[in-house]
């Protein structure tokens, strides 16, 4: 099964008309490029970030002030994350407008929706990490909003066992942001690409 999966990830033959730029605008591909860039810059940021409430903000200041290229890398990570979300939303819009969610591609539409949700959640968990005022209150707002939805209280209790921006919650957001959520996004992306191959490319839809 695994061999077949890899074969479909890297196809031997691609139909020329499937590469038509004007149809997909390459939005999904650009979003995936953003994801790779986010992984690369995030990996380097890990060398300096300290996931503890007292030292998180200090470590960011140190990174921006005393590390060669630190400010650039952090800005790149932040900017790319914005682009990532915008591109995913545009990609979703393209899929809706071209009717690409229809049979036989319903499964890939669902995988795509999961990816959209995971990307937003990844952005949300990353927002708390700098531990400045904006980060703290934005996360606080999100957590209060979560209370209003069904099961929100339970999810909140898991995400924030001790209050937004305290030891345990910051550590949980950190682990989610650097390991669990990106890992799931990567797995779902590969499944997404595999399904494109299984559906014999992206054209024609309608």
């Amino acid at each position: 099964m695994f061999k077949e999966f890899v074969k479909h990830l890297f196809p031997r033959v691609v139909q020329k008309r499937n590469l038509s730029f004007s149809y997909t605008l390459c939005l999904g591909g650009l979003a995936f490029t953003c994801l790779l860039l986010l992984a690369a810059t995030g990996l380097l940021l890990l060398f300096y970030y300290q996931p503890a409430p007292a030292s998180a903000y200090q470590s960011i200041l140190f990174l921006e002030g005393s590390v060669w290229g630190g400010r650039y890398l952090r800005s790149l990570h932040r900017l790319t994350s914005h682009f990532f979300l915008v591109l995913i939303l545009l990609h979703t819009l393209r899929v809706v407008l071209t009717g690409a969610y229809q049979k036989p591609r319903e499964l890939n539409w669902l995988i795509g929706c999961a990816l959209l949700f995971l990307a937003v959640f990844e952005g949300y968990t990353g927002y708390l990490l700098p531990m400045d005022q904006l980060a703290l209150w934005a996360t606080q707002t999100g957590m209060e909003l979560l209370r209003t939805v069904p099961l929100g209280g339970e999810i909140r209790a898991i995400l924030v066992p001790d209050g937004v921006g305290e030891n345990m919650s910051l550590l949980r957001f950190y682990v989610l942001h650097i390991l669990l959520v990106p890992g799931s996004i990567l797995c779902f992306s590969f499944l997404h690409f595999y399904r494109i191959r299984k559906n014999k490319g992206v054209l024609p839809y309608l």
Partner: protein
């Protein structure tokens, strides 16, 4: 003869970009460790026993108590005004915080003691290190 999959040009390109990448990442991973630099150099004779020298421009006071010599950062820990040095202690003109000679808070609104700088003895001079 079989054509090798790798040309000399692509090999050289790969070596050069790997070396450049390693150099840049190495530079990123070695942060500047802050060199302490001398803010002030004061002759030892200028500082009387149990006295103080105030440098308002540099916002530093050099104090001596018995044998101990230390420097206080005159930036108030409340909102950053320059505190006045009086014989009784240090008083902030903005909101009335007062500190004793060691920089500890006597009266608010400041809630942290004044920052201390390291003083190094260099021959016949005191050096305040920042």
């Amino acid at each position: 003869m079989a054509k090798p999959g790798q040309t000399r040009r692509s090999f050289l390109g790969a070596v050069i970009s790997l070396a450049a990448g390693a150099f840049l990442i190495g530079k990123f991973l070695t942060p500047k460790t802050r060199q302490k630099k001398a803010l002030l150099t004061v002759p030892k004779g200028d500082l009387p026993p149990d006295g103080a020298l105030v440098y308002r421009e540099a916002r530093v006071a050099l104090l001596r108590q018995g044998e101990e010599v230390y420097a206080l950062n005159l930036v108030c820990t409340h909102l950053g005004c320059t505190v006045n040095v009086t014989p009784a202690g240090l008083v902030c003109p903005c909101h009335g915080s007062s500190f004793d000679r060691e920089g500890k808070v006597l009266k608010g609104p400041a809630d942290r003691p004044l920052e201390r700088y390291r003083v190094r003895t260099e021959g016949d001079f005191y050096q305040v290190l920042v």
